[in-house]
Symmetry: none
Subunit: 396 residues, 2 copies
């Protein structure tokens, strides 16, 4: 049975094709159980085996050309109206479709800029190109990255409701972790405690378990993208975590920072408090700037400059990314204009996109301060999905 969500997203896709004056969106793929094109997830729950074409037409037609052995499964699980099974080769039914509909442009599932729109493999591209040789369609192929960016970015009301719940449950687990954190426990023990809660409540994880949650305590931690270690929480440490759950297929992604008080301290050291305040304010500076039409790099630059102006090194990554079915969801990002971010820092922000805001800075001798909030873009600005961290969480 196809889900309501995929039907909603197919309707959105047809609308987006019309806005972009593109007649056809084609996902060309095979053996998706081995390596699944992430753009399929928006419009299809099932997997395919042989060469397959999933065709969404601006005129409202949805057609899947699939291997005959996938037919009965697709009848049960796909949202596509027309299913065309083949036995020997996809070439003929595909050319028949294209000749019949004669699309002005074919948005194809590849992208230089966005990995989430880049599911077509090079081997499959060569196959497709050979099929299309000598037809006018070779000159009508364009990347579907804009369509996928809009489709993934524009969250429907039901998507936002699911993601709000994912954020709420993540913050609840952070709250419970606070009562577990104390001098003497290890990063690994904190992670295990949180994973226990995740499993008890039937949630998934937003990314791989080895790194979720990531727990970093003290001045000598491994840095981002590392799993929790046997490093022991000690007094005087800044401790931060990066953690997200998966709920009904959608991810959350939040970071929080704690400080472990020394015996003789009533308040955190000045350097720690300053680091926290600068980071907190940099998030405010960014979210004040975030609204439809603004470019992601401008939002990144606002936070980045604020941090540098206050005497810290700039963070070595983008300020924030979109969140959705995948934790680093595609299209526009709050990224600096660095080559590896391609065009994504230059794509205008749209209403109903959901972004993280996650700067970081280091406080020498104590550790790293990071907070990561999630916000949804509104008509005139943005609204926090997370209750933002306003104060260092102090462990006594």
């Amino acid at each position: 049975m196809s889900s309501n969500l995929t039907l909603e997203k197919i309707d959105q896709a047809i609308q987006i094709l019309d806005e972009n004056n593109i007649d056809l969106w084609m996902i060309f793929t095979r053996e998706s159980a081995t390596m699944r094109d992430p753009s399929m997830d928006m419009v299809l729950d099932a997997n395919c085996t042989w060469h397959s074409a999933f065709l969404i037409n601006r005129n409202g037609d949805t057609t899947a050309i699939i291997g005959s052995l996938d037919l009965s499964n697709m009848q049960l699980q796909s949202s596509f109206k027309n299913l065309i099974p083949y036995v020997q080769s996809i070439k003929e039914p595909l050319l028949d479709y294209l000749n019949k509909h004669n699309p002005n442009k074919i948005a194809l599932n590849y992208s230089v800029n966005s990995n989430l729109a880049d599911g077509l493999t090079y081997g499959m591209f060569l196959t497709l190109f050979k099929y299309l040789e000598g037809t006018p369609f070779t000159d009508r192929l364009v990347s579907s990255e804009d369509i996928i960016a809009s489709l993934k970015g524009r969250k429907s009301a039901s998507e936002i409701a699911i993601m709000q719940k994912a954020v709420d449950e993540t913050l609840r687990i952070y709250d419970e972790a606070t009562s577990f954190i104390r001098p003497g426990v290890t990063e690994r023990e904190i992670a295990a405690f949180m994973l226990g809660l995740v499993k008890q409540r039937g949630f998934g994880l937003a990314w791989e378990e080895e790194l979720c949650p990531s727990v970093f305590t003290g001045p000598d931690t491994a840095g981002a993208h590392s799993g929790p270690t046997d490093r022991v929480v000690k007094k005087g440490h800044l401790l931060n975590m990066d953690f997200g759950i998966k709920y009904k297929g959608y991810c959350s992604d939040l970071q929080r920072t704690w400080y472990i008080m020394q015996d003789n301290e009533d308040v955190p050291p000045e350097s720690v408090q300053k680091g926290f305040d600068v980071l907190k304010n940099s998030i405010k500076v960014a979210s004040d700037k975030l609204k439809p039409g603004v470019l992601g790099w401008e939002v990144d630059a606002a936070a980045r400059n604020y941090i540098v102006e206050n005497g810290y090194e700039e963070f070595p990554h983008g300020l924030g990314h979109q969140v959705g079915k995948i934790v680093h969801d595609g299209g526009a990002g709050l990224f600096p204009r660095w080559e590896r971010y391609g065009t994504t820092p230059f794509l205008p922000i749209e209403q109903n996109q959901i972004f993280t805001i996650e700067p970081r800075l280091t406080v020498p001798e104590h550790g790293v301060v990071t907070m990561e909030e999630e916000v949804v873009v509104t008509e005139t600005g943005c609204r926090y999905l997370s209750v933002p961290q306003e104060k260092l969480i102090l462990i006594k």
Copy 2:
């Protein structure tokens, strides 16, 4: 910590590069947690985030050029000796590497023929090609499909040990199923009983749960690639199953056949016994023929002809496929020279490949006889991983 397995496979890869007179194998990829190139699994446990190049050089050098955020995780989890982190773009460190090593050919991770060797996306290909423009390296790119086929095929000692255990545990579950099978139970109940054992023991399944195990009882079953139904086991039925587990990342794939005795029978009917004997002998004929250098179609033909000569229709599929991390693992197969098998029946068999041997035949009015054994190719022949089924299993 990198596993012994990936270190063994990297050593093999270097050997295979040398045999093929190719200086460099490059996996060029990004964001592997979202869509993971299946060829990575052979040589790397970790995931990468930004554009990454995993370089295995015929001279023994192994270098990973990765985003700086991935560095500490790769230090823990990767088998690559040299880790080169970058912040802004992979272009410079990649060109530096290529200029320094000046490889005669670069085997790249794309393939028209095999999806298991086709992890490079078209967007990533365009990016790479742009980086290489104006260098001699654009003309030295070749598909790595042959390297990956050899690497996946040639099992190391520890891979064989893991796969032996997967086979042993599968046969153990078949044994336990034997005491559950009786007239009156349904295909679905037998499958549920076996899945309970799989989960209790913490194994995965070799393929999707709906079809694993597949259970077929009696003369009117659905045929291959169908899940268990509410069909009831009855006296006089031949019952067969297709089933495999996943253990430490490796699959098993075995079939067994039972006969449900009638009240008045001391031995199975002659037609049933003859069907069983012919099938059993056809497996023997095939395994006698299987050794390094022989072509897969020759092995297939030996069993196929034996069955036809004994008065049965030929089976409508290949005799056997390789098994590994994926249940239908790539490269050479024991397949007939039919168009849909492409070049795979013509690839010479190599030592340490693991194959299934799985002919089938129909006994009218009783059902289907199938056995599927797993064998590993040795220096001079092959050795059974499964204890082959020598007798019909009789249910009284």
